[in-house]
């Protein structure tokens, strides 16, 4: 009897969730102007477009075809280097701000009336989408990489500030108290008591963020904030199909290389902590 009741309850719950889900789907399909027929029509269209961007590489003319496909290779490489620079400078500057703000944002290290506002501030920095910041900064600082770098730096400061603060909270307080006992100021306690403990975590999160920022920097050019994105935007707008695939391939290769490099560096950083 109990079992049957429990089963009925479970079934009722299940139906309720299923009904809620289908309602949500129907509602969003209505708002988003999609239907099954549109999906069935659209997906092959998108597939055909992507297939159209692929270059025609023939085995007997391979070098010629490759040269034709990658005609802008040196320009694109320079733009990719710019993209990485934007990500790098943005990560470093944002990371420095994050580091400064992370100590007052750590609940174990600062009084509650400081922790709260600093945390809210970091939250605000990371909730505004990078691209929106880039749009505003392009208006204020002019077109170019500087605006994009600032947008990335602001978002990074918010995202890393929280993670760094959590790292500091995990640090043992004994070393900080030792510095205090020796007469160190609050800043000295943080610098010599807490920071050495959280350094591996800080570096590891910084490297992870750098990987993300390289991806983000690749699209900033769409709003005129520097990097490879602008070239890609132009290629799509001017229907230069083969350029699209060439640039995408280069972006992918860059992102993969950066991921690999950062992965190695993270292993070194975290390995040191273990030893």
């Amino acid at each position: 009897m109990r079992w049957r009741e429990a089963k009925a309850l479970r079934q009722r719950n299940w139906f309720l969730w299923a009904a809620l889900l289908s309602l949500a789907i129907a509602l969003s399909a209505w708002v988003g102007e999609v239907s099954i027929s549109r999906l069935v029509q659209g997906v092959p269209l998108a597939g055909a477009y992507i297939a159209g961007t692929l270059p025609s590489l023939r085995l007997d003319h391979l070098s010629g075809d490759l040269a034709h496909w990658m005609w802008g290779f040196t320009d694109w490489l320079e733009l990719l280097a710019d993209t990485i620079l934007i990500a790098y400078v943005g990560t470093v500057l944002g990371g420095l701000v994050a580091l400064l703000l992370s100590f007052p944002a750590a609940a174990t290290l600062a009084p509650a009336w400081i922790v709260m506002p600093v945390r809210r501030f970091l939250e605000l920095l990371r909730t505004i989408p990078t691209l929106v910041l880039a749009l505003i900064f392009v208006y204020a600082f002019g077109l170019g990489a500087f605006a994009g770098m600032l947008a990335i730096a602001v978002h990074t400061a918010g995202a890393l500030g929280k993670l760094f603060a959590e790292e500091h909270e995990n640090a043992s307080l004994a070393q900080m108290e030792a510095v205090r006992a020796a007469g160190g100021t609050w800043a000295a306690q943080m610098r010599f008591g807490i920071f050495p403990q959280s350094l591996p975590g800080v570096l590891s999160y910084g490297l992870l963020r750098f990987e993300i920022n390289v991806r983000e920097a690749s699209v900033l050019g769409i709003v005129g904030a520097g990097g490879i994105g602008e070239e890609l935007y132009l290629a799509v707008r001017q229907f230069e199909y083969q350029d699209i695939s060439a640039i995408l391939l280069l972006i992918l290769a860059t992102v993969a290389a950066i991921d690999l490099l950062c992965g190695r560096l993270r292993h070194i950083v975290l390995g040191k902590a273990g030893a």
């Binding site: 934007i86 989408p129 890609l232």
Partner: protein
Amino acid sequence: MTPVFFILGALLLGVGLWRMDASAERIWLGLTKLGWLLALMWPPSAGGVFWELLKSLLESLAMAFLGTLLAAVIAVPLAPLGAGNVIGNVMLRFSARRFYDGLRGIDTLIWALIFVAAVGMGPFAGILALAVPDIGVLAKLFSEALEGADRRQVEAVRAAGANRVLAVRIGLLPQVSPVMLSQMLYTLESNARSSTVLGIVGAGGIGLALSDRIRINNWDEVAFIILLILGMVACIDWANRKLRLKLIRPAS
């Protein structure tokens, strides 16, 4: 070793700043202009089209929801290809994983550019653009969930005489479904953020209104739209936290 890294890093920073011509004058001018913009943003105003803005915000949300769902529906059958305990063939598994990485490596906004060109402007392009990189993310996470599942429960169901389908349904699914659902919720959260900017390239949602207002210098409306976005993101975060807690600890 450490000082070398430090010097190299600082040098790269200098080169970067120099290439972006970050002169003191430029920064000062930009900051004054920024302060001036902030002053113009107050007080935020809907410009008399509050309901239209709300509708495009809901459109963003709908795009995020459908994009996540579409990605999950496609990722579920792809996931076993990347799981070591399902696919024995190392080459196949390796190429499946690289394929997932490839989908992830290209940003949502680039996919949006491509899909707007392919299927036309509007939220439909946005949904596809959100779904494609998420297929990569979810397929990878799902295959990791499958690898982490306990084989013995599947074997127990098989030993009791169930067929393969039932073994997956009773032995495997209950183990991986909470993990998968929780990952879908994370993806939804991140998509809700991404979907707000897709409109900048014409892929539907609130982004179009935002970039338009910036173009015509209506900064009070820009501030209002940004506040709307922040509000929506906060709501989604809150709802997700509640739902995830419910999923991880189902009512006993």
